[in-house]
Amino acid sequence: SAVISQKPSRDICQRGTSLTIQCQVDSQVTMMFWYRQQPGQSLTLIATANQGSEATYESGFVIDKFPISRPNLTFSTLTVSNMSPEDSSIYLCSVFLREYRETQYFGPGTRLLVL
């Protein structure tokens, strides 16, 4: 199994500021995924973070707004830039275990409120 931690677990931020969310995995994984869950809605994939290359963003998400770093096989960050109240969401990182493709694990999530 994989143990995933996220920091911070929650934050309240002012409009126009940026927040960087960290995701640490206890296993080496090729890809890490960042999701967003807005209030009352289902999960939406933001991007896939590949170690050693640029992240791949889903439709509707851009690197300038959600820059991602992936410096090694166990760590990734997602930055929510120039925040607005519409960015208030839970942000989750996720991995598939490298050796066991069929199991997906999620971090505990970061609950973000933008005022």
């Binding site: 995924f33 999960l43 896939t48 889903e58 839970i90 989750l92 199991t103 997906q104 609950r111």
Partner: protein, 111 residues
């Protein structure tokens, strides 16, 4: 446009009942279908289905995929109050990219 539809959107049952949750999809380059249980913040992975007709089971939960008719079902037998959650269905269109999530089915199990 890729999409995933779940039904019903909400369901209320009593303990001991059996429930069937439905997920239908339209997606190009289908790779897999995934089921999750979400109680609080982070979803819990339940199943990944890639092949038609092969049932996956975990305790009282089971799921099967029909790639011809483009749907999957999640069965929960002998429901318990702890099964109360939102059950999410997602389809993966290509390895590691382009996950599409359904709206979820909110299941409430009453004692």
């Amino acid at each position: 446009e890729d999409k995933v539809v779940q039904s019903p959107l909400s369901l209320v049952v009593h303990e001991g009942d059996t429930v069937t949750l439905n997920c239908s999809y339209e997606v190009t380059n289908f790779r897999s279908l995934l089921w999750y249980k979400q109680e609080k913040k982070a979803p819990t992975f339940l199943f990944m289905l890639t092949s038609s007709g092969i049932e996956k089971k975990s305790g009282r939960l089971s799921s099967i995929l029909d790639k011809k008719e483009l749907f999957s079902i999640l069965n929960i037998t002998a429901t318990q109050t702890g099964d109360s959650a939102v059950y999410l269905c997602a389809v993966e269109a290509a390895y590691g990219q382009n996950f599409v999530f359904g709206p979820g089915t909110r299941l409430s199990v009453l004692p």
